[in-house]
Symmetry: C2
Amino acid sequence: MGDRPGHDRRAGSSEPPNHLLYLTDDQLRTGIEAMFFAYRGFTAAPDAILQDKDYGRAHHRALHFIHRSPGTSINNLLGILGVSKQSLNRVLRTLIADGMVVSRVGTEDKRERHLYLSEEGEALERELSDAQRDRMRSAYRAAGPAAVAGFRRVLEAMMDEDMLRHYEALGPRGRP
Amino acid sequence: MGDRPGHDRRAGSSEPPNHLLYLTDDQLRTGIEAMFFAYRGFTAAPDAILQDKDYGRAHHRALHFIHRSPGTSINNLLGILGVSKQSLNRVLRTLIADGMVVSRVGTEDKRERHLYLSEEGEALERELSDAQRDRMRSAYRAAGPAAVAGFRRVLEAMMDEDMLRHYEALGPRGRP
DNA sequence: TTTTAATGTCAACAAGGCTGACGTATTTTG
DNA sequence: CAAAATACGTCAGCCTTGTTGACATTAAAA
C-alpha cells in the first residue's frame, strides 16, 4: 500500500525525488486544510446576507444555478446540486411561493418544468453573488493571474466525472 | 458602485485592460462554481467511509484537528472549527464514549481539557485522511506543481483573518 | 396500450447547526 | 479573601437541509 505507483506516503521512508516534493503527505494535508478554511470564507458573505432573510444556503444554490441556466428542468438541477428531489422540492416550493422563481410547464415535453428567476429573484441572486464575487475578486487579485489559473486547474482535477460534466455544461455562457 | 477602484463589473461596459481579464465577472463566476463542485469531490471519499460507521463529517473534522494538534483545548478546537460549543460537545461526547478521543484535565490550568486520539482514533483518522489524501494527490498530480502553488495561494487569500490565524498556527508540523 | 419518465407531495427521520439557561470547577482580579 | 471571569459540560428546544419510502399525476415512448 505504501508503494502503490505514485503513492508516496513519505512516512519514515527515504527522501522523495525532488520533482515530487509537492506530493508529500504534508503538502496534501496542508491543501486539505486550506480547502476547509477557504470554503468558510467562500460562503461567509452570502450566508451573512441570508441570515436576515428566510432563506438558507440551499436557496442560494438554487438561485445561482437557475440564474445560470434559465429554463433548466428539475432533473438537470437535481444533477447539478446532487441532492434528492424531495430536498430540492422543499427549497423550490418556497422560492416559487415567494415569487422568486417561476415554474413553467414544458413546451415540448409537458412533464417537464422550466425554471426561471423573476425580477425579484434576479435581484436577490445578484445581491448574493455580488457579495460572493467581491470576496472572490479580492482573493484573485491578491493571488494574481498565474495563481488563479493553477487554482482552477486543481479544482477541476478534484471533481469527479459527473460534476465535471455539469461544470463544463454550464460553460462560459450557460445554456439551459 | 460599478466604478469602485478595481471593481470591474464588466456588464455592458467597455473592455477591461488585458492584464485584468482574469478578474472578469465570468471568470469569478466560474471560480465560484469550481469551488462548489470541487468541494463535493473533496469530501466524497471520507463521506463514503463514514456512511457505514456511526459518524459524520463533523466527527471527521474533530478527528482531523485533534490529530493535527494533540493536546489541544476545547476552546482552541472551537476556534478552528467555528461551531458552537454545544455542537462540538455533542460530537466529542460520542467520540470520547467510543474511546476514539481521550480527554485529560489540564496540568497547568485544571479548567482546561486536553484532547488526544487513542490508538483506535488514530486508526480511524488515518483511514479517513488516507482516502481524502488519495483524492487530493491525484488532483495535485494531474494539475502539476505550479498549479498547486497557485491553488494554495488563492485559497489562502480567500480566508478571513481569523481562519488564516488558525491555518497558519497549525503550521508545517502541527503543534498543540 | 402498457410502460416509463418527470414531477409533486406527504410523512418520518437524522445530522449537525444554533440559542438560552444552568451548574461546576478553577483561575484571576479587585 | 471575596467577587468576577474563564473553561468547560449539559439539558432543552428549534432550524435547515439532507435522507428514504410511498403514492399520484401527467405525458411521452415503446
